[in-house]
């Protein structure tokens, strides 16, 4: 019963931690653009939080540079369960255009488990919101993985 309560709480207002693991910022701007009145993610209760300890959803961009790898793991570890990861953009999905570069791991799922991939370079703000809504649907169905 408690599980359902928590799930309901998550559905109502996912708290998002936005992290850039080495991206060019293209995806990051479009994530922010999803918050402005035109698209208004807040109607989904989506709120940006600065700290991992209160976040439900990690929205992550970038191909994971070598320097960000440990940090990314640490942030993920600090998030309380249940937690979910949304990858925004090509680079986060597979390394994107930086595949083969010596400075990147390539793909966020090489470092932490990912629930939703939103492809694009960058994906439009509405595509990003669509991805987050899909995550909410996934949570409703039964949580991560």
């Amino acid at each position: 019963m408690f599980d359902n309560l928590v799930k309901w709480g998550r559905l109502k207002s996912p708290w998002i931690l936005h992290m850039n693991s080495g991206s060019c910022n293209g995806c990051d701007i479009e994530i922010l653009a999803a918050l402005i009145p035109r698209l208004d993610a807040e109607r989904f209760g989506v709120l940006l939080k600065g700290t991992p300890r209160h976040a439900d959803v990690l929205v992550c961009t970038g191909p994971v540079t070598k320097q960000m790898k440990e940090r990314l793991k640490r942030i993920y570890d600090q998030m309380p369960e249940p937690k979910f990861v949304v990858v925004v953009g090509q680079c986060g999905s597979s390394g994107g255009i930086y595949q083969g570069a010596y400075g990147v791991e390539g793909g966020i799922d090489k470092v932490i488990p990912v629930d939703v991939y939103i492809p694009g370079c960058p994906p439009r703000p509405d595509a990003i919101l669509n991805g987050i809504v899909k995550l909410l649907a996934k949570i409703e169905k039964g949580g991560a993985e």
Binding site: G26, I29, E30, T65, Y98, Y102
Partner: protein
């Protein structure tokens, strides 16, 4: 003051534990910054090396993604370098379209920045308004190029898409609207107490220091440095386009706000001129795949300042060496100077003042007591709120 009272704060991308590379490590004495240490590199992907393994056409798309906000200026530098070694003169219509996109990018970037700066000082309404207006620019960019970010407009020898008469009309209408909005932001900038209190006298960069540390862009121009690559080493069609270089001499964050807001009017002026004088003709000429041995350097006035690219070619279809120096990197030493002597509460707005590529200056920092290494966690969001509260308590509200 005994050294044990000093506290070191690394300001970096996320929550680090012990010794990890941060962007800035700040030493605090009470509430004042006394020393700053620079270490960049967490966005270092290895692009320059990667470029040596891809051909000139593939690199067009890679270069664009060095930074998602200033992406077009990077591709302009790139194609200009290749075109110079190939001795290609691109058609005038292509030059005008390149200039159009360079200015549209400056427009969206400056509006983005005003919003982000507003957010840093607790003025979220400003963030919402500017980013809403910015959507007008995004719509124009998408209308012509097909994408909101990373426009893929350039090719070696010209541009890939044309601007139709219908689109020209829409651009002009948008300029009328945005000029009115720029007028509104100008009034807000000089009259809104929130902005004045948080930015006047904050983050001082004296002109001699700016010159010595080779500061660029609005950061330098707010300290009275009269440099703008568009005028000083003209490229695309800037030599044929009248505009003013905006400088102020307040040397503070307020100056950096004023320069960018006033530049909005210049952008509108330039774009109107381009659209009224757009030459007819082709938008590109054919370019060979292989680039003979040679060398070229191109620099542009990106929204953030001078962006410089260097190319060395070796007769193959791949570059031998490509080097990029972004404007944010050029301003790093200046930011360190600005932070020295500043209040902790001013740190977010001073860093934001150079308009750093957002990814470079993100999020969490950790307060470390030098004595016992006990790591008090203070994230950037809290520092931002701390700054807002600190000023409220000073009684300006």
């Amino acid at each position: 003051m005994p050294l044990t009272n000093k506290v070191k704060i690394p300001i970096g991308p996320q929550h680090p534990a012990l010794k990890e590379p941060e962007n800035f490590t700040i030493t605090l004495d009470g509430e004042t910054v006394v020393d700053v240490d620079i270490r960049i590199g967490y966005v270092h992907r290895g692009i320059e090396k990667l470029m040596e393994t891809r051909n000139y056409i593939q690199n067009l798309y890679l270069v664009e993604r060095i930074c998602g906000i200033c992406s077009y200026t990077h591709t302009v530098n790139y194609v200009q370098n290749v075109e110079e070694i190939l001795n290609l003169k691109i058609p005038p219509r292509a030059e005008y379209i390149r200039t159009l996109f360079l200015e549209l990018e400056r427009l969206h970037s400056h509006l983005l920045w005003v919003g982000v700066a507003g957010h840093e000082i607790g003025f979220d309404t400003l963030f919402m308004y500017t980013w809403q207006d910015r959507e007008v620019v995004q719509d124009l960019l998408e209308m012509i190029s097909g994408n909101r970010v990373n426009y893929a407009m350039n090719t070696i020898g010209g541009v890939r898409r044309d601007v139709s008469d219908e689109q020209r009309k829409k651009i002009m209408e948008a300029m009328d609207y945005l000029e009115k909005r720029a007028q509104y932001y100008k009034e807000v900038a000089v009259n809104e107490k929130t902005i004045l209190v948080r930015s006047e006298g904050v983050g001082i960069l004296k002109p001699q220091v700016a010159l010595k540390l080779a500061a660029v862009g609005p950061t330098a121009r707010a300290s009275g440095i009269n440099v703008d690559i568009r005028r000083d080493d003209p490229y695309a069609s800037y030599a044929k386009t009248p505009f003013d270089v905006i400088t102020t001499d307040t040397c503070d964050v307020f100056g950096r706000v004023v320069v960018r807001v006033l530049e909005l009017f210049e952008i509108v002026k330039i774009i109107r001129h381009l659209m009224n004088n757009l030459p007819s003709g082709d938008i590109k000429i054919k370019a060979p795949r292989k680039v003979p041995e040679g060398e070229a350097i191109s620099h542009t006035e990106a929204p953030r300042g001078e962006d410089l690219h260097y190319l060395h070619s070796n007769g193959t279809d791949k570059p031998d060496r490509y080097k990029v120096r972004t404007p944010t990197m050029a301003n790093m030493p200046s930011v360190a100077e600005m932070l020295k002597g500043a209040y902790l509460a001013d740190v977010p707005i001073i860093i934001a003042g150079i308009d750093p590529c957002m990814g470079c200056m993100d999020r969490v920092l950790v307060l470390k007591d030098e004595k016992d290494d006990s790591g008090q966690i203070l994230d950037m969001e809290n520092l931002r709120r701390y700054g807002i509260k600190w000023y409220e308590e000073k009684g300006w509200k």
